[in-house]
């Protein structure tokens, strides 16, 4: 597929991606791959996926738009091309999701030269995994209420506090860590650190897994007790933590200027390993309602087609977001990204359960569970996505306030 509006650099890069992907994909593993980075459960899954990210990085498909001195590819506006080709090739996802999507752009925009040179290359290569330390029991949607306290201690800092919902913490080398450094101030009383938490375990850091409602792991609680952190691991100035965190969240919500490296999630077999609407079509053909295939039920057909339309619209929104003449407000489409994607995934999974009928009662360990029991689990896991990174209720506030200029609700 030749793209009429591509620069010659982009065209050459696309050709390179295609060529490399034709032979660069890893062989299927001998074990089941998780459905997404949040579901990585075993070390063997992690190692397989890290090896894959490392190889893709070596081939120039990860971090293409970052400068070369930071481990990037030194290109311009090429990551989306790599993502597109990765997806088309059915490549597995990259495991360092917090690193690529949140830490990298934040370090790039707010880090010192030394921090960028130290932290970014192993991040892109998946040599160092990252996790996020923002949420706390009392600071979920209301992030400005962060209480974890970093106090001056000689040259450095000492941290006490309690973070929750830290994905991948048990595998991570680094954490992006938002702390309060001034109790008297709210938004400008916070400071942003990058914390080497793996080294901290046993020296002030305790990581405890949180069990999800599915019974699976994936999130953690992290407790800090007099945990020491050097001042050169502070990102940007003291008291600027809120502004830095906004950079992180802008990118997490898909609204940042740097495109996050991403891939499909499967290895070619869509209906087996993805949670897209195409899976609904397959499922409906194998399920029964009123003694006939569920795919013949006009009501379900209508509902499935609605999902196929929403899925295509999501992709076309991404496409249109890159065409300035068809965009009214620069944040209007990017800020919808997480909202629409999370609700699409949730509604798709809910519909799949409806298609399954009685069989949706089965746990994924039951041999008769359709599609390996992944849909009811996906439905439950989808709440992680509609709640996390600012619940969708908060997302709607942000869209209403920043794009439609409505009065602030809080």
């Amino acid at each position: 597929m030749n793209q009429s509006s591509e620069s010659s650099e982009q065209a050459a890069f696309r050709a390179h991606c295609k060529a490399w992907l034709a032979s660069g994909l890893p062989p299927r593993p001998g074990f089941r791959l998780p459905l997404g980075p949040l579901e990585i459960a075993t070390r063997e899954q992690l190692e397989y996926l890290c090896a894959w990210q490392k190889a893709a990085h070596a081939a120039g498909l990860v971090g293409c738009d970052y400068p070369r001195e930071y481990g990037g590819g030194g290109l311009r506006d090429c990551q989306w091309i790599a993502n597109h080709e990765l997806k088309a090739a059915g490549a597995p996802f990259f495991p360092n999701i917090v690193g690529l999507g949140m830490a990298a752009p934040t370090i790039f925009h707010h880090g010192t030269e030394a921090q960028k040179r130290r932290l970014l290359p192993p991040l892109f290569a998946a040599d160092e995994i990252w996790c996020q330390g923002f949420s706390e029991p009392g600071a979920g949607s209301d992030l400005a209420n962060v209480q974890a306290l970093a106090e001056r201690d000689g040259e450095g800092w000492r941290v006490n506090g309690h973070k929750v919902w830290t994905t991948l913490a048990h595998f991570a080398t680094w954490m992006i860590l938002l702390c309060r450094t001034d109790r008297a101030r709210k938004h400008d009383g916070m400071t942003y650190f990058v914390a080497p938490i793996r080294d901290g375990v046993g020296r002030g850091v305790t990581i405890r897994p949180l069990v999800k409602m599915t019974g699976e792991l994936g999130f953690n609680e992290v407790f800090f007790e007099d945990y020491p952190i050097a001042d050169d691991l502070r990102l940007d100035e003291v008291g600027r933590g809120w502004a830095v965190a906004m950079t992180t969240l802008l990118h997490e919500r898909g609204a940042g200027s740097l495109v996050t490296p991403s891939a499909g999630g499967g290895l070619g077999d869509d209906s087996e390993t993805t949670l897209g609407a195409a899976g609904l079509v397959e499922l409906a053909k194998r399920s029964y309602r009123h003694g006939k295939p569920a795919s013949d039920d006009p009501r379900l057909r209508d509902a499935i087609v609605k999902m196929l339309i929403r899925e295509r619209a999501f992709a076309q929104n991404e496409r249109r977001a890159a065409v300035p003449a068809l965009v009214d407000h620069p944040l209007r489409l990017p800020l919808q990204h997480k909202l629409t994607l999370s609700e699409l995934l949730q509604d798709t999974a809910r519909l799949a359960c409806e298609i399954e009928g009685m069989a949706a009662t089965l746990h994924q360990t039951d041999p008769n569970a359709p599609a390996g029991g992944r849909w009811p689990h996906a439905y439950m896991n989808s709440f992680g996505f509609t709640i996390a990174a600012g619940s969708n209720e908060v997302q709607r506030n942000i869209l209403g306030e920043r794009v439609l200029r409505l009065a602030k609700s809080k």
Binding site: V211, M213, R350, T361, L362, I387, N397
Partner: protein
């Protein structure tokens, strides 16, 4: 027959409901329930049958298996309206027990005539019974059983999605022969019966498929050809009972989520201040109230106006399934991160509701049948 304006929900029904509320508050509070059924979060838990047998003995002491059995057979002869009140409380507590399946089975037995008198006496005395006859596709329709009767009256085949099979003493099995559908009582420990526990999501019940190999039934409840009629007669009661469970469970979800919204503070306000939290809670309440009114309407119709019982019961099941789906979804979302964890109690009700939603046909199935009744079958107008 007449339909009392107050649904016939009389003082006896109030006492039964009140007793149930108190017993379950004392012996099946959410903390105790979570300790009992959710101690283990590992996947092996999914195929276990965990319940409080001491609580079950208390229920038996109170005669709850006897409530729907006629007085002449040793029961209390209460109407479905009273039973609905009792089941609401079981749903509110998300109580694991074989009571609900036994109540459903009681209505099938009641529809079988004198052949089931002996069974009803045993139920009144404490026998727990489940229904077995759903096919592998999850259809409860009379013709869809996979169990057959041979010339010697022996049963073979598999009954799927048998509820609380791990807790009951006997099964009412639907089986086909050339003469039509019959209903048979099978003791769970009879020769040739294998109960294979399914791994399921709901922690407050168990489910199994039951493999029958030339099983000699303990009793014929309905002869071949008579079974379908009995099932059709009992179905409105079964649907109403499941709907009552969902309405009770939904009320727990509503009240628990409202309490969280009154106490959880974000942005310096209890989150119930925010309309994005307040209005979904109101919508949960509105949906639940509609479903609850339809449950008592259906129960009253079953007791007093059988000709409209099926339509009313399907309406109740459809409304309750939709309400349960919405309440489950919002109870997790509005609890935020904590609602998404194993340790939070909302997961127990979420999974029970998801299970009840699809039992005996989900909302869309009920509406499809209702459309045949209320709009005529497809093609009838043309």
């Amino acid at each position: 027959m007449t339909r009392p304006h107050d649904f016939g929900f009389d003082e006896t029904a109030q006492i039964l409901k009140g007793t149930a509320r108190r017993l379950l508050q004392d012996h099946c509070a959410p903390e105790a329930l979570h300790r009992l059924v959710a101690l283990d979060a590992g996947p092996a838990r999914a195929s276990e049958c965990v319940w409080d047998e001491a609580l079950w003995r208390r229920m038996l002491d109170l005669g709850w298996t006897a409530v729907a059995v006629p007085e002449r057979l040793g029961g209390f002869g209460m109407g479905l309206v009273a039973i609905a009140g009792l089941v609401e409380e079981l749903g509110r507590a998300a109580a694991p027990s074989p009571l609900i399946v036994t109540l459903c089975a009681t209505y099938v037995a009641l529809a079988c005539g004198p052949a089931a008198d002996e069974l009803l006496r045993r139920i009144a005395a404490g026998l727990s019974v489940s229904l077995a006859g759903t096919d592998r596709r999850g259809s409860w329709e009379a013709e869809h059983t996979e169990v057959t009767v041979d010339a010697n009256g022996r049963l073979s085949g598999t009954a799927w999605f048998v509820q609380d099979a791990g807790k009951v003493g006997a099964l009412i099995v639907k089986a086909r022969s050339a003469q039509g559908l019959g209903l048979y009582l099978v003791e769970v420990d009879a020769t040739g019966v294998t109960i294979v526990q399914d791994a399921i999501l709901d922690l407050t019940r168990d489910q199994a498929h039951v493999v029958l190999r030339e099983v000699v039934p303990a009793q014929v409840l309905a002869s071949p050809g008579d079974g379908a009629r009995a099932l059709v007669a009992a179905e409105p009661a079964i649907l109403t009972i499941i709907a009552a469970d969902m309405v009770g469970a939904g009320e727990w979800q509503l009240q628990t989520t409202a309490e969280y919204a009154r106490t959880r503070v974000q942005f310096e306000r209890p989150i119930g201040f925010f309309q994005a939290v307040k209005h979904p809670l109101v919508d949960m309440m509105v949906q639940l109230d509609a479903a609850r009114s339809l449950v008592y309407d259906a129960a009253c119709a079953f007791d007093h106006e059988p000709e409209s019982a099926e339509v009313c019961a399907r309406m109740a099941k459809a409304a309750a399934s939709d309400a349960a789906a919405y309440c489950s979804d919002r109870s997790v979302q509005l609890h935020g991160g904590i609602g998404f964890t194993w340790e939070c109690f909302v997961q127990l009700w979420f999974k029970r509701q998801r299970h009840n939603e699809v039992l005996y046909g989900d909302a869309a199935h009920q509406r499809a049948v209702l459309a045949d009744r209320l709009l005529g079958r497809i093609g009838a107008t043309a």
